[in-house]
Symmetry: C2
Subunit: 340 residues, 2 copies
Amino acid sequence: MRGAVLYAPGDVRVEEREDPRILLPTDAIIRLSATCVCGSDLWPYRGVEAVKGPAPMGHEYVGVVQEVGSEVKNVKPGQFVIGSFFASDNTCAICQAGYQSSCIHREPVGGLGAQAEYLRVPLADGTLVATPGTPSDDLIPSLLAASDVLGTGWFGAVAAEVGPGKTVAVVGDGAVGLLAVLAAKQLGAERIIAMSRHEPRQELAAHYGATHIVTERGDEGVARIKELTDGLGAHSVIEAVGTQESMMQSIRSTRPGGHVGYVGVAHNVQLPGEELFFSHVHLHGGPAPVRRFLPELIDLIWNRRIDPGKVFDLTLPLDQAAEGYRAMDERRAIKVLLNP
Amino acid sequence: MRGAVLYAPGDVRVEEREDPRILLPTDAIIRLSATCVCGSDLWPYRGVEAVKGPAPMGHEYVGVVQEVGSEVKNVKPGQFVIGSFFASDNTCAICQAGYQSSCIHREPVGGLGAQAEYLRVPLADGTLVATPGTPSDDLIPSLLAASDVLGTGWFGAVAAEVGPGKTVAVVGDGAVGLLAVLAAKQLGAERIIAMSRHEPRQELAAHYGATHIVTERGDEGVARIKELTDGLGAHSVIEAVGTQESMMQSIRSTRPGGHVGYVGVAHNVQLPGEELFFSHVHLHGGPAPVRRFLPELIDLIWNRRIDPGKVFDLTLPLDQAAEGYRAMDERRAIKVLLNP
């Protein structure tokens, strides 16, 4: 089969890879209907994360089950399914508490390479969720978004305790940040402040429910949030970048007693304990337990109540994955869908 | 009046200070029935925090109202009252959300010096809570504990989302840690693991409801908590020290999705963002909004359902404050009560 492989920073190639096959009785093989490039794929692509030899890329996937191992009970060949970036058993105490991305048996899907024609999904029963039927083509981008960026933005909003009557700020205008705006709207936020200086992203944020746009960053961004909230800060801030600046901007934009939900994968972040102590914020986040939210998100998409697929503003054939990475790296595209 | 003043690390003197008087119409003057030395007083005493010139010390107090400003409505002369280390209006949006120690008008009481005969309490209406009547002498230590260490331990337990069915670990065996054990018990925890290597403190922890004692610290302490929790970590961990080691021990002792409540005043702490991200813990804490809990805590003490005053294992006249500091610094005493 064909699949994308990262050889070195900036060097993504689509090449022939071995077809995946069932290795364990809990595995499933799916034929991908769509896959995509993630903001987090840009960390190794940019050399911020080390690239150790040629690495199959991709961890977002929707597709049709081709084959299942002998112990798989919940999904069967022919079903259209969605999974996320950590395979999980969905039965351990951590999964049952809603933290499937910290499942005691979790396996990262990233290493298996979902930017490809086929994918082996470990722990298929715990990981995959089937849609009610075969989706029409126009729903596929939204279902693919549920695999990571929607689920991640949603978790950010839940971690930030977004709810009715609250003012929410979103730091980061990538796909996750934009879909955190969508999540905040769905969860009933009263005001949603999107922090973005890019016009197409501002427009999409407004489409998803942002009531205010703030273009300033850092201390100036914090000052604008304070101005909009009687000097107190937002009740809930969703961090969707992962840098020192974005984390501090998020903490400082939150009122005492408020909540920061952080879902940008932290890179070289050190949080000053004393400032955090006196900030009085709640801090929660990490790799989103997308599996927790998948049934609800699929339902919302299936019934066309949300349209997260709009974050895909560039669609390419899988063979042009390298151009997809470039477009996202240069911020020419918000998110790139790849057709295998 | 007489009052304790810190001149330099290790140099506490009780000397004549000017009698406090009403400065603002929202002030009250109270005659202290008891005051005490706090673990956090040891930071400047040990020179870890800078001492800027002679500083009146103390921020824990119970006593009888002597005089009130013209705008004070909620307390009146003759009443026995308890306040905490931040004066607060108890009416702003932050107070109403339960974060009185981040009140938009807050004033630190520490700078006013509660280790003294009299104290000016700003924002008396929002800060002071009267007891149902004049307490008998044996209740005074417990009421004094409510002024800070009990309220702080309680907030730690609330921030750590302690509740029925949960396993709770407490890092730190000072008065706050011990009273966090008491709080965890009151809040219905199923198992309470006190981390302590000091026998008298272990005994008091057991008295307050600890079901397990762990003497190991750091990585070994984390390993012991994991052993006791099926390898997962505790649901709730209360951090009551404030060092890098104790914070990391707390975070690492908590299961994914669990809660760290941290109330040790952070000193030279830097939290590694990436580890925190993948830990999946909730982190909340800061200076305890003791005012939120005072009515409930006074009620529990008044009805003799809790006995937090047992943390005072040394009582001295105010004039011997220096010996009180030494005893706590050398860990000869858990907490020292001073009689003005």
